[in-house]
Symmetry: C2
Subunit: 432 residues, 2 copies
């Protein structure tokens, strides 16, 4: 049985995603497709343009059989932490056989070679890496140059550096690393991305990047992006906007973000994951002289850090995601499989997953305390059904709730802010 | 030299305030009038309708010679803490000779008698108080009934309970208590309040309550309250609204308050001053099902607590004002005298205050670190100019900055949110 696993954000689902989905299904001749999807916040360090429930609905209608939610604590991490969570979810279903990801190089061999070095850390590589770090290079740069030196020495390989500069190659590489860390049997493959770069801001018609699409929606209106989205996606996006739930943008968090930062001190900030090399002081000082989130980002930004990194760090500050917590989450991986929705066909597969997975499958999150108590009781017994660590399970799932409860304040119409979305929204069942 | 001291909020300055100011001046035949005024947040547990700088400007133009800012940490406390801070500032000028406050009873003898009991705590009173507390009464109620029992036993005094039910009598009583705690020589007197109750919501023309005036501004417009305000006050209020700085209301804090609460846990909440008797759980649960601040307040409210108490507690939660901190502030009183403005005449008095006060006079808050270091150095010497405790000084003044930096996010036009108001606004000098 071929079960294709995908890592997605669908923010929003566009023609490029559809192409990738179809090409991946053909490539592995899949019987089922499951996706792990970012929830209400995405890896760019922003709230998603529409909420996770409507994005899951689109995914199901476009042919995904089960949509799992990537626990919040992984969504706003760097490529490595994001991959750790996403691959963790796919691996822990116990049924995914294939992973297909888009990349700029589409060179799975090259990426695997690099991944081997990163995981095995040969002496020669490590020495060079440390030298570059001592010279004051940032970790990504030191890693890039050390890999380049290493490959130049052992072979004629030339395009190493290029693969460490394109965002999807980097993410793909981290998927490969994560597969090795989980000792996974999932077979990775890659498809060349078509058309545009992930970060391309220019709207280019039928094949446009999600970034460009969101920008048009923010600056102009939804009708202008009709060409770039499959009808199903366009219609649901339009519906969410008509309902005044979306579109949600980072700038909508202005009051909550600036007020929080203006009350923090350096000691609190310095504990947050990714707050390093003077970022604490920059965030504090900038928060007091910025009137919008965008001004804040521009003020904090230096050559040393990408804007995406700054945005992610900002959200980690806002959500109090500390370095020590993140280390724990990355060490133990996701502690549950939260199902946002499934198709009739996916239901069969979900039954299968429930049998084989060593992690609780969550379709009714409001019952999380019951599961927590079950895990706690079980942890004393010798015959364990689950591998989850109760306390980490609790922290991870409560973070999902917090993220949703904050996101619900961002809905355009305030009437949607009066309940906890995760506690009242039923799991989606898509009738094929 | 008769120096009249007043405790004010002027939110906004209205005809009732003018009446009180003139009557107080006549009563004590004052040479100077100084006021201690709440800053950007007021004792009702709300942001002030216009900022402290413009309210100080009005006060000076209406004839106050020096306006001191009540440190933020006292403004959102209950009557006792508020009075502790306000009387502390007046007492620590070293020059105030008279205090005049408005009250419903206007019975300074009666209030003084009660105050004596509260300060001296005679055995008989204490026993009754403890009995009522054990029976489960709230502290204000237990105190009220214990006082009543005590006075009934010792004399024919009848109107005790009444004096513990009207808000200005209660506040006045706390002023008397504070004067005793500071062992002050300031002579207290009281004037009967005219026209309306402080909390009266009905607009009643020329003599209307500040509450009613703010409500009309919120629901209708500024022109409708012209009759209730002296021209100077009306014009400055109008100017601030035209500039899109004001009017500011508690509801404007919706995003910052709800997002903060939705991320807190019970342990954090339980440390906040005033969070007692199940309020922690109520605030947490209500924050998740409320879409506005008003909904939150209505949800948290019970018979046990007044709405004002709930609002104040909400702001204490928002600003992380813990019980242990508050105890420290109330034990040591205000650690500096921050001057928001003075008249030419007031300048002479300020020179006098600088000579006699044992607390630093702050006219340029941006230099606070220099003063802090001075206090720290001094604390080791035997010949001290100041009585301030450096660490408490620092915490109190930094809270003033935080309150202003949060308030600046509430200005209607965001261009006013890009600087720290306390660091850039010059002390006001009113040319008579």
């Amino acid at each position: 049985m071929n079960v294709l696993g995908l890592v997605v954000e669908y923010n929003p689902f566009h023609n490029g995603h559809l192409h990738h989905l179809n090409a991946s299904k053909s490539l592995v001749n899949s019987d089922y497709v499951v996706a792990v999807m970012s929830g209400n916040f995405v890896q760019r360090g922003e709230p998603a343009i529409i909420d996770k429930f409507s994005r899951a609905e689109i995914a199901l209608k476009m042919g995904i059989d089960i949509v799992f939610e990537l626990p919040f604590v992984y969504t706003i991490q760097d490529a490595s932490g994001f991959a750790n969570g996403a691959i963790g979810v796919l691996e822990r279903t116990g049924v995914v056989s294939d992973l297909v990801f888009g990349s700029e190089s589409a060179d799975i061999e090259g990426l695997s070679q690099i991944s081997d070095i990163l995981i095995n850390q040969p002496k020669e590589y490590k020495k060079t890496l440390n030298r570059y770090l001592k010279e004051g290079l940032s970790f990504p740069n030191a890693r890039k140059y050390a890999l380049n030196d290493y490959f130049t020495q052992i072979s004629e390989e030339k395009e190493i550096i290029e693969k460490l500069e394109k965002s999807n190659d980097i993410l793909g590489l981290e998927y490969l690393n994560a597969l090795k860390l989980y000792d996974s049997k999932i077979k990775p493959q890659t498809i060349k991305r078509i058309g545009v770069n992930y970060n391309e801001e220019q709207y280019t018609g039928e094949i446009s990047s999600a970034t460009a699409i969101r920008k048009i929606i923010e600056d102009e209106n939804i009708e202008k992006v009709k060409d770039a989205l499959p009808d199903v996606s366009f219609n649901i996006l339009k519906r969410e906007i008509a309902l005044k739930k979306g579109p949600v943008f980072l700038e909508d968090m202005r009051d909550m973000i600036l007020s929080k930062l203006r009350m923090m001190n350096r000691n609190e900030l310095s504990k947050i994951d990714g707050v390093k090399e003077g970022l604490d002081r920059r965030f504090l000082d900038c928060s007091k002289v910025s009137s919008t989130v965008n001004q804040l980002l521009m003020c904090v930004k230096t050559k040393r850090f990408t804007l995406t990194r700054i945005r992610r760090t900002l959200l980690k500050i806002f959500f109090d995601l500390t370095e020590s917590e993140v280390q724990l989450y990355n060490k133990y991986g996701p502690q549950y499989l939260r199902v946002l929705g499934f198709s009739k066909k996916g239901q069969t597969l979900l039954g299968q997953i429930k049998k084989v997975s060593k992690y609780p499958i969550i379709t009714t999150p409001s019952r999380y305390k019951r599961i927590y108590h079950k895990l706690s009781d079980e942890s004393l017994s010798s015959n364990k059904k689950f591998n989850s660590i109760p306390e980490i399970f609790l922290k991870q799932i409560e973070y999902d709730f917090i993220a949703s409860n904050i996101y619900s304040l961002l809905y355009k119409d305030r009437k949607y802010s009066i309940y906890e979305p995760d506690k009242v929204t039923k799991v989606l069942i898509h009738e094929d």
